[in-house]
Symmetry: C2
Subunit: 174 residues, 2 copies
C-alpha cells in the first residue's frame, strides 16, 4: 500500500493521519494552539522553508482545519484561524505534549506547563470515560468492529477486515 | 531547521514526534494496541515494505517503546511487546481515532467501537483534569513556560524561547 492511499482505508487513525500525519503539520498545529495565526510568525517560530509552510497551510485550509481570514486590506494580509474541526485536534497535540513531558523531558523538566482555567491547577490532562467518569487506558478498553466495519464484513466476507480490525487473538478474549 | 534536529528543541511535542512522528510508525502502534505482536502480522495488516517495517520496529525497540521478546527457540522467533513507555502512547492513538471517527467517518459510521471495560459502555474518551475532574479543551487551558523554558530564559535571554513558547499575544492575556 502506498501512503497516499492510506486515507481510503477503513480506519480512523489512518484517515486522521492522511490530514495531519505530516510531521511539520503537527508542529504547525502546536503553534496554532499557542495562538500563532500569521504566516510570518509560523515561519519564524518553526524555521521550516516558506515553500513547505505554504503547502502545509493550504492543505489544512482545504481540509477545513484552518479558516483563512483577511485581517488587513491594503496590502491584503491573511491569518489562519483554527475552525471547530481544528480546535478538536487539541487532544492529539496534548497527547504528544504529555508523552514528551513524561518520557523525554530530562532533568530540566517540562518545557511548558498547562494550567486548567476552571480550577487554576497546573496539570497533565488524562483520558476519561464520559459515561462513568473513570480513567481510560490501554488495559481497560476493548476495541470492537463498529458500524463501518460490520457493513464491510457483511459485504465482502471480511476480506478487508483483516487490514483494520482487532486480530484473532483479540477475538478469542471475548 | 532540518527535521533530524527537531528532537533537540525545547518542546515536548517535537521530542515526541522525533520518536513516533513517522506516519507508518503511528499505524504500527495502532496495530500494536490491537494486539498485533509479530513481524509477519504487522506486515500482512499494514502492507508496507519489509524494509520499512524492519527499520521502524528497530527504532521503536531502540527508543524503548517495544521490547523484543523471543517466543520460540528453533528456529528463533521474536515478538514486539509494548513496554510501559509504549503503552503510555495510548492517549495519542485514541486521540487520532476519536478525531477520525468524528470528522472523517462518513455515512458508514465509525470503523471501530471502543468499550470501557470498567462500565461496559461504548464510548469515545475525553480529556479531563486530574485535579478537578472537569473537561479539558483548547479553550480552557493556558500554556505557561515550564521549568525547562524558565531555565533557558535565565541562561540566554530568551533567544531560544521564541521557538517553543507562548507568543506575545498570549502573554498579554495574562
Amino acid at each position: 500500500m502506498r501512503w497516499r492511499e492510506i486515507g481510503e482505508t477503513t480506519c480512523s487513525v489512518a484517515r486522521t493521519l492522511s490530514v495531519i500525519g505530516d510531521r511539520w503539520t503537527l508542529l504547525i498545529l502546536r503553534e496554532a494552539f499557542l495562538r500563532t495565526r500569521r504566516f510570518d510568525d509560523f515561519h519564524a517560530h518553526l524555521g521550516l522553508t516558506r515553500h513547505v509552510l505554504t503547502a502545509r497551510l493550504n492543505t489544512l485550509v482545504d481540509e477545513g482545519v484552518f479558516e483563512k481570514v483577511r485581517y488587513q486590506d491594503r496590502p491584503p494580509r491573511f491569518e489562519y484561524r483554527l475552525t471547530e474541526k481544528g480546535l478538536d485536534l487539541y487532544p492529539i497535540v496534548i497527547g504528544l505534549t504529555r508523552w514528551g513531558d513524561r518520557w523525554m523531558a530530562g532533568e530540566d523538566g517540562a518545557p511548558v506547563e498547562l494550567v486548567h482555567r476552571e480550577c487554576g491547577h497546573t496539570m497533565l490532562p488524562e483520558l476519561g470515560c464520559p459515561e462513568c467518569g473513570g480513567p481510560v487506558n490501554a488495559r481497560n478498553v476493548e476495541a470492537r468492529p463498529g458500524p463501518a466495519l460490520r457493513a464491510l464484513l457483511t459485504n465482502d466476507d471480511g476480506a478487508r477486515m483483516r487490514r483494520a480490525a482487532p486480530r484473532d487473538d483479540k477475538e478469542k478474549t471475548r
